[in-house]
């Protein structure tokens, strides 16, 4: 997908002025937060589980090469095939090869952020293979020609009215008098259309929430059941997963599962947790005949051993964006790539490059809520600051900002100079605002004054006032 992250500011401005989007975003603010708190409060061990999950992922990441090797061995034992893809390009080619070998015209897809990351749908279409998204949210945005705006609720930016209009436009069999005013009717319509697709697809593609090294299994966690139909009905099942999804054992999966649904949707457990190992067995009455796993790196290995390694603990629960005031205001598309919100602000520069993700590490109020709710204890604000530092070091931010910061550094190192400058500046500033104590415009502070007034400072500096107060106190005691 075309990355527009450098235009975050413009994207955000458009998003703020979009009434449909603003109407839809209300559901993020109201929907997720209370449910998560309720589920968490009902499980006294939640915090202990967070520590346990962090330890599991840290251990796995520092032994990642060995767990990946072990995982591959077990997949092979179970009759599956592992393909290693260093780049998005490699992964796309493998998918195409598998589709060609299977003679596939149609592939069904379970919800998968990785396939968004590698831009699989556009690619397959160009190659003459028709991808069909089967998760309701993904299906809606595929009809609209859009990308997900949330990692677990891809169509959270769309209103019910818009969905109805999309269905009426794209489903020619719909009679105009068919009542689609209730969400149930829309879901029923999508279910009916997609049922036929599951059976006509030759290949089913899913992502994975976990890969289990002990058994060579891939695990998907869903609510709709579409992921399961996608992987049991077609003749070929392809799993695309990034390398950090591996955990050592089934018990480790269980620890993290207890955090995943609670953090994501406030459920104790998602409806379907499905552990798949290899293709169907000789006497099985159903299931795919071929089972492939594509292990994607695409920049993750270069996060290992750096200050961004902790990000690889992410389980894609979405809690950080559900609690982010910036996300609440602008939605997911403004972030300009696959991963929005705080996790995206850290991950996008890591995977797509800081030069391509411009303002994202600045798309934060540094309120710290994302880190507080992250079930995997990922220090998101700290990592955004790391990116800001790198951005600065590489001279990627605008000149005014750089000079401003340099001037500030000079003052911070020379307090006397700072006191002298402020004691001269303040009387001057308050002279201009004697009648109305606010600035509508101030040179070099356009970023602030464009959208709001700057309150005028008092005429004496803090240090001056402090000294006077201290002197008064001394006087009173004497």
């Amino acid at each position: 997908m075309q990355i527009t992250s450098p235009a975050f500011k413009e994207n955000a401005r458009t998003a703020l002025a979009d009434p449909q989007l603003q109407k839809a975003l209300v559901h993020v603010r109201s929907g997720f937060i209370d449910k998560r708190v309720k589920a968490m409060d009902a499980l006294p061990e939640f915090d202990a589980l967070r520590d346990s999950a962090r330890a599991i992922k840290d251990h796995t990441l520092t032994h990642l090469d060995l767990y990946l090797e072990r995982y591959e061995e077990k997949v092979r034992e179970a009759g599956g095939v592992v393909h290693w893809a260093e780049t998005a390009d490699d992964a796309r080619s493998v998918v195409l090869e598998i589709c060609r070998a299977a003679g596939a015209r149609t592939v069904t897809k379970g919800k998968s952020m990785i396939t968004e990351e590698i831009g699989l749908n556009d690619f397959l279409e160009k190659e003459g293979v028709r991808p069909v998204e089967t998760d309701l949210g993904e299906y809606i945005i595929q009809l609209r020609g859009e990308h997900p705006s949330h990692i677990i609720a891809p169509a959270v930016h769309v209103t019910r009215d818009q969905v109805e209009a999309d269905f009426r436009r794209e489903h020619d069999h719909l009679r105009p008098d068919r009542d689609l005013s209730e969400p149930e009717a829309l879901l029923g319509e999508a279910r009916r259309v997609l049922r036929a697709e599951y059976f006509s697809a030759d290949v089913g593609i899913t992502g994975a929430n976990f890969l289990v090294a002990e058994t060579g299994s891939s695990v998907i966690v869903t609510n709709e059941g579409n992921g399961d139909l996608t992987q049991i009905l077609p003749r070929v099942h392809v799993v695309i997963a990034s390398i950090e999804k591996v955990v050592p054992t089934l018990e480790d999966m269980s620890q993290i599962l207890r955090l995943l649904a609670r953090s994501a949707t406030g459920q104790d457990m998602s409806v379907y947790t499905t552990v798949s190992t290899g293709p169907r067995r000789p006497d099985d009455p159903d299931g795919p005949e071929e089972y492939h796993v594509i292990l994607l790196d695409n920049g993750r290995s270069s996060m290992l051993g750096t200050e961004f390694q902790d990000m690889l603990r992410c389980i894609r629960c979405g809690a950080c964006m559900n609690h982010c005031p910036v996300y609440h205001a602008v939605g997911g598309h403004a972030y300009g790539w696959v991963y929005p919100g705080p996790m995206g602000a850290v991950l996008t520069p890591s995977l797509a490059g800081i030069d391509k993700s411009g303002h994202l590490p600045n798309a934060s109020t540094f309120c710290g809520r994302c880190e507080a709710v992250c079930p995997m204890h990922i220090p998101l604000p700290k990592m955004m600051r790391h990116w800001r530092e790198r951005e600065f070091a590489r001279g990627l931010n605008p000149a005014t900002q750089r000079y401003g910061l340099r001037a500030w550094a000079l003052f911070a190192r020379h307090p006397r100079l700072y006191r002298l400058a402020t004691s001269l500046a303040l009387p001057a500033l308050s002279f201009f605002t004697a009648r109305r104590p606010r600035f509508r415009y101030l040179p070099l502070a356009g970023g602030w004054t464009r959208n709001r007034d700057l309150p005028a400072p008092p005429s004496r500096t803090f240090m001056q006032q402090w000294r006077e107060r201290e002197a008064e106190k001394q006087g009173a005691h004497a």
Binding site: H27, V28, G31, F32, L43, E45, A48, H59, T62, H63, L66, Y67, L68, R70, A78, W84, E86, D90, L136, A153, T159, P183, L187, L194, R195, A213, E214, T215, S217, N223, E224, G225, N226, L229, I243, P248, T249, L250, E251, D252, S254, Q267, D268, M269, V271, Y272, T273, T274, V275, T277, P279, R281, D283, P285, D286, G287, S301, S302, L304, G305
Partner: protein, 225 residues
């Protein structure tokens, strides 16, 4: 394949690790062998009778319906009653699971029992669970020659029979019994952990029960199973 060497090599370099480092290999080997359990919620750590009750309560909380019967022989009658109550045609689809096959289905005269993988036309599927997990009201089912996975997903109504004695307090107990059945490091093709009927909240975050999978999940708990 070059992709493999490329990725493993980059991971090793980034971690500052050497191939064949004995200490690291041992750490991984031991971790896999021990499969430590981590934190187990106290919620399910109860006497067995209470675990069964917790299981039923948690399942109902996620919109499953639950019925308890005294013995396996009572299951066919319970299934027939469910079909009548829901106004469904008198036909069910199921695998050839031994426990299901041993039940007196023939006593339900008008009930048609189809065996094998599910068809798109099947309205009701019946499966037998490996186990129930009390902490979340989850049933665990696995695929095999006698247990098609399509029965769990294609029909609109899914009836799952679970023996009360197979209900455990937590997921880890069930994983351990799976390991016992299949052997360490081995798995059936598909293990389904199912918690309630399918649902979606993708339209304006409105929770709708009944998405692509079954609209209804009916659990029959067999006390003397």
């Amino acid at each position: 394949m070059s992709g493999r060497e490329g990725i493993i090599g980059k991971v090793r370099t980034a971690l500052g690790a050497k191939a064949g480092d004995a200490a690291r290999t041992r750490a991984v080997h031991e971790r896999l062998l021990a499969a430590p359990q981590g934190v187990i919620p106290a919620r399910g750590q109860l006497p067995h009778a209470k675990q069964v009750r917790l299981f039923c309560m948690m399942a109902e909380k996620v919109s499953a319906s639950v019925q308890r019967v005294k013995k396996p022989d009572s299951v066919p009658r319970a299934v027939a009653a469910y079909l009548r109550a829901k106004n469904l045609p008198s036909a069910v689809r199921m695998g050839s699971d031994e426990r299901l096959a041993a039940m007196p289905w023939h006593t339900m005269k008008s009930l048609e029992v189809k065996t094998g993988a599910a068809d798109p036309e099947d309205e009701v599927g019946v499966s037998h669970a490996l186990a129930g997990i009390a902490e979340t009201g989850t049933v665990a089912l696995y695929s095999g020659p006698r247990n098609p996975t399509t029965v769990n997903f294609l029909p609109e109504h899914h009836i799952v029979v679970v023996d009360a004695k197979d209900i455990a307090g937590d997921m880890e107990t069930v994983l351990a019994s799976l390991r016992q059945t299949f052997g360490k490091g081995k798995m059936p093709r598909t293990l389904n952990l199912i918690t309630g009927p399918s649902r979606s909240a993708d339209i304006e975050q409105t929770l709708l029960v009944g998405a692509h999978g079954p609209r209804a999940l009916h659990l029959i708990v067999v006390d003397g199973g």
